[in-house]
Symmetry: C2
Subunit: 392 residues, 2 copies
Amino acid sequence: MDNFNFYSPTEFVFGKGRESECGEYVKKYSKGKVLIHYGGGSAVKSGLLDRVKKSLTDSGISFTELGGVQPNPRDTLVYKGIELCRKENVDFILAVGGGSVIDSAKAIAAGVPYEGDFWDFYSGKHVEEALPIGVVLTIAAAGSEGSGDSVITKEDGLIKRGTGSDVLRAKFSVLDPELTQTLPAYQTACGATDIMAHVFERYFTNTKEVEITDRLCEAVLITMVKETPRVIADPNNYEARANIMWAGMVAHNGLVGVGRSQDWNSHGIEHELSALYDCAHGAGLAVIMPSWMEFVYKHDVMRFCQMATRVFGCQMNFEDPESTALEGIRCFRRFLHGIGMPINFEELGAKEEDIPVLVKKLGIGDGKRGGFVSLSSDDVAEIYKIAAKASL
Amino acid sequence: MDNFNFYSPTEFVFGKGRESECGEYVKKYSKGKVLIHYGGGSAVKSGLLDRVKKSLTDSGISFTELGGVQPNPRDTLVYKGIELCRKENVDFILAVGGGSVIDSAKAIAAGVPYEGDFWDFYSGKHVEEALPIGVVLTIAAAGSEGSGDSVITKEDGLIKRGTGSDVLRAKFSVLDPELTQTLPAYQTACGATDIMAHVFERYFTNTKEVEITDRLCEAVLITMVKETPRVIADPNNYEARANIMWAGMVAHNGLVGVGRSQDWNSHGIEHELSALYDCAHGAGLAVIMPSWMEFVYKHDVMRFCQMATRVFGCQMNFEDPESTALEGIRCFRRFLHGIGMPINFEELGAKEEDIPVLVKKLGIGDGKRGGFVSLSSDDVAEIYKIAAKASL
């Protein structure tokens, strides 16, 4: 096991109706004004935003607000948010929404006390200081409610880049599974795919004998395989929603990746798809992850057999382990298809002729990238090609 | 899933040689003097204490020290520690040792800013304020490095009682698996048993459909079943030690119990054994836990089948589920015996004729206690009787 630090100081406030308590939690951290940051219409229409405002008002907290965060959140709104916070002397940001809203809030939080351009943090500079943030989560997906990560898209050129720092971890995150019950099935499935991807990116490692981390990864994956079809079949299944929402946090606060190498190539390869076509990140992952697996599985057949047997319940073929590895990948793709995800370029709305553009934007150039299997630009092109033509 | 809060703000500093960094971590929290709190000879003899002191000195931190914590730590030393901290203006306590040392440090930390008798906190009063503490862990067992709990024994009458509060959670915990390599096999096995008990007390619940928590519990248990025999066979197996040490933290920081009822009767029933005979807590648990399981399994046969199949790899007997439930319990007892744990009163050094005394001290009286199966004093007497005569 490699040496590591694990630090997840966020207070998670989980369950029905807990958003009515968010004023209490904000009060612990804010002595001035709060920015409520949110996205489009659903938080407004559902009445959630009003309930959050009422909770803040009841706790004697004054606030300003900034809505309009879009999926694949843009730098342009971040600049606006930074300016607003400075003007209004905001000392706490409350993100009400999903991963895009939280990521946008984190970018603003990092930008406010920083003299330079916040984009520096998305170009390699480490965030040392940020305004404290809180979260009221509305979709189980990105895991941003428990992570120190943020991904922002630069409007100019649609460049999607990430940053990460412990100072960007939320002080508290309210997770009410009921808030996710009104989500369309497609968005629910995209979120579930993202959650599973966060685990897989940590599961495929070259570090041996980290049994505890392996088993924790599998715990989350098995839960997702069981619970996701239940919410697709019945959007009001609270118990299944609750399991998925908590699994989404566990998948990405760092716990299931400690002590070993990770490989985030699938996320990187996908980011170019959602940046170019503005498709949902989860849908892009559904197309990319199994294709990445097919390209790399020979690097460690036994690890793919472990996934196949422990996560998807395949029978191990001891005479032909490779067939078990491939069966596990097929199971994953069938599972994704079963919850309504696209599995190839056509279903996603991507174009095979764009592959050279996608590869170029990823920016590996003549180098290689990856913690499990190191990929060249040519390798990535191959993965896009597999993804373009994938079938069940 | 029940509503819950989960908060584990401790920074975990994991791996080989990390204790040499503890000065850096202490420095973040202490502006005055530090109390180094430890137990008997091993931390001194091994040179660990000197390394810790050097790290503090190198970081410019002044300290005082208090050794002598014994297993089942006593209130008498806690009073001494509180007095010392007040006299020397200590503002941070660094616990160097196992669960007993950490629990003693937590009691001192709670007692220093409190005007009354610290024992109030072990008699039902909630701890609202405490000095910050840090940990350098030397044995994987109690999970106190990641929990807000503390158990202290009152010298007068050997009464063992616990308290719990988020303010007692360590600011940081250094977990270096190498420090555990010199432990005798018996202590290692006691620690492993305690870790598994922390999970089982959360695993047996009446709350349905909390798949994610079930699977996380099983992840820790499966890891312990695999790794414990490996360290008993080879005390220097670093990878197995590392897996156990991290599993020990995950088992008890609260994660594997969220969203549902728990049942801590086995811990309570055991505490009377270790208080009366001063035996190791883990050894007492090895005798009590399977006996408790035999007494309660009919309450939820299917849950015991789940344990049997998922944790111990038993084949499910669909025609006779009860036989599978019992086979799981037998597997657990055989496992404990295999790692060198006692399985009945004689092997533990307890006496059957003391059962009425044990039951009386537990103090259930005419009431009932328990979150999975509610037990009367008579029920507890039955469990002690099963434990007294248990065999493989």
